[in-house]
Symmetry: C2
Subunit: 351 residues, 2 copies
């Protein structure tokens, strides 16, 4: 049994901001290349190592190699059983657990695919996982997947979808001394923003996990000049929707929600959308993972690559050490207890 | 009696966008310089011509020489008794009337000061009238003043004040998947905009003229990133206030109006303010002007240099040919009937 806190510190010491994963991918590749029960392949800055034991099922265990850019406050520091540092929680602790298990489990009960991929923390189009899906999809084949994102060492099932819509309200310009000859588009925003702010909320409970939807205005703009009644104003809304809605259903829901605040002359625009993934906890491997943790699962509120696997027909869950609320924060850290707990549960699953 | 439509056309033919009034000031100066009953002075691109007849009262008749920049649709055109063109209404028609009366009235009943000034259509700081107030205030001394701005050849009394305030609301950033850990500043705008939109309005009736106040949001902004609960949002409001309020009183009124939509952590900022001017129709010269028009006066809703004169203790009114609603519009025009009516009323006043 290796010292997971020490090996996490070793990974944190290697800078790996998105698009600069070469060095850490080299380390991972070297560690796995000579393991006799693994077939290891490098695709760009992604590393995939697989067993071929002819088991009835194959489990994919995946984690991203990159971090967000350094925060000036994030000085790596090891104190007792806690490691502070950029990526400690998101997600080099998870990578350390994966490396440990991959190199220490010659006879897993299921075939294992250990996937270390690049460029998760930036725009979707650049994702190393998408690079693998498009160039080498057979490397990601499996019956279920576990993403090592920070989850406080308990199962965070599925993930919510996210979309942005923009409502642009029209008006008619006029001099502010004679506003009755025009129509103020900014004034019309009031009712729209009230509807967002007073939205009653909605929670979908799937496989016992509560997916709490969120609706937030993330941008507002309008105005022409100091003495002009403005003829245009807009608000952009981010909707975090439960995985029992498709993007089309979520959009239809918002169009209905905002009825009366915009009319035919205005614009309701879908800016972008990414569906979530249902918890899929009925799958035997994911049910076994929950059992191995001994803790009730909960819903994943942020969007993760669990949705990418689901899009390709692979049920998946999030499970890793570290507090998800501290990801990208200057006080990001991970503890030895969570690292060990994560390893123990995964070891029990694949033993 | 000269042909006022022809002389207005002559003035419209001389381009005089703000800061380029040299040529038109030259023409005005040449016309007035040799009139024996006038003392004519040029100060920069301003021209002031005065009688010195020892009358009991002095009337200032003032008009600006500049226009806004040309609108691509504004082709000068003379059709029957109507002249279309940039500045036809605002306010070369008024200038033509002034030039005609100044050069045709050797024995006015009051001493007259004919003031043609530059740079009215741009920022206050550049105003030719302010240049005169600060460098040669004696040139503007008088008992009352008439501004030749377009008013449909009836008296538009006084003018409203105008101010802009900006309310900046604070919030707390959070991930939009977990908005309950933050506070959305854009959502807080809703109540504020509703209060602007639902403002009941207020009208001050002064000297029988209705000064209808106006409150209009002219800018709104807020937003951090696509998935961030925004911690700041702001709205800028333009208040057109009646001349019975000072700027300080108007600001206090708005602070009170918006109570409950902002709190101590937010910012309420006065961006700028320009007081209006009361109608002063009790002044004998302005009362006589109203009588000479034979039409009921009305309040001036836009801000004009009537307020500059009032600030220096000189009661003033707006009176000129042309539709004020067409000023700065591509279909700006003036009619022979309004030009003649304006001249007749002023001639009766100073005869």
């Amino acid at each position: 049994m290796s010292d997971l806190l020490a090996s996490t510190a070793e990974l944190v010491a290697i800078p790996s901001v998105s698009h600069n994963e070469g060095a850490i991918a080299d380390l991972v590749e070297v560690r796995l290349r000579d393991v006799e029960w693994l077939e290891t392949e490098r695709v760009g800055d992604n590393v995939v190592a697989r067993t071929h034991l002819g088991r009835a099922q194959r489990l994919v265990l995946a984690g991203h190699l990159d971090t967000v850019p350094p925060n000036q406050l994030s000085t790596p520091k090891l104190e007792g059983d806690t490691l502070w540092g950029l990526g400690a929680s998101d997600m080099k602790g998870g990578l350390a657990v994966m490396l440990d298990l991959a190199t220490a489990t010659p006879e897993p009960s299921v075939d294992c695919t250990w996937c270390f991929y690049a460029r998760e923390e930036i725009g979707r189009a650049d994702s190393g996982l998408l690079e693998l899906w498009s160039s080498r999809p057979e490397l990601l084949a499996g019956d279920a997947a576990i993403l090592g994102e920070p989850t406080d060492a308990l199962v965070e099932a599925g993930c919510q979808g996210t979309m942005r819509i923009k409502i642009s309200l029209r008006g008619m310009r006029a001099h502010t001394a004679r506003p009755f000859t025009g129509r103020n588009a900014i004034h019309r925003l009031g009712a729209l923003l009230d509807r967002v702010a007073r939205w009653g909320g909605h929670t979908a409970t799937l496989d016992g996990c509560d997916f709490v939807e969120q609706l937030q205005a993330v941008a507002v703009e309008g105005g022409v000049a100091a003495n002009v009644v403005p003829d245009a104003a807009s608000v952009t809304v981010n909707f975090r929707y439960a995985p029992d809605r498709s993007a089309a259903e979520a959009e239809a829901y918002l169009r209905e929600l905002f009825v009366g605040t915009y009319d035919d002359d205005d614009a309701f625009e879908l800016l972008d959308a990414a569906d979530g993934a249902p918890p899929s906890l009925g799958h035997p491997l994911l049910a076994a993972l929950v059992a191995a943790t001994g803790v009730a699962p909960r819903a994943k509120v942020g969007w993760t690559d669990v949705a990418s696997f689901w899009e390709h027909g692979v049920p998946a869950a999030n499970f890793g050490p570290g507090d998800p609320l501290l990801a990208h924060h200057h006080d990001e850290h991970v503890t030895r207890a969570q690292l060990d707990r994560t390893r123990d549960a995964l070891a029990a699953l694949i033993a």
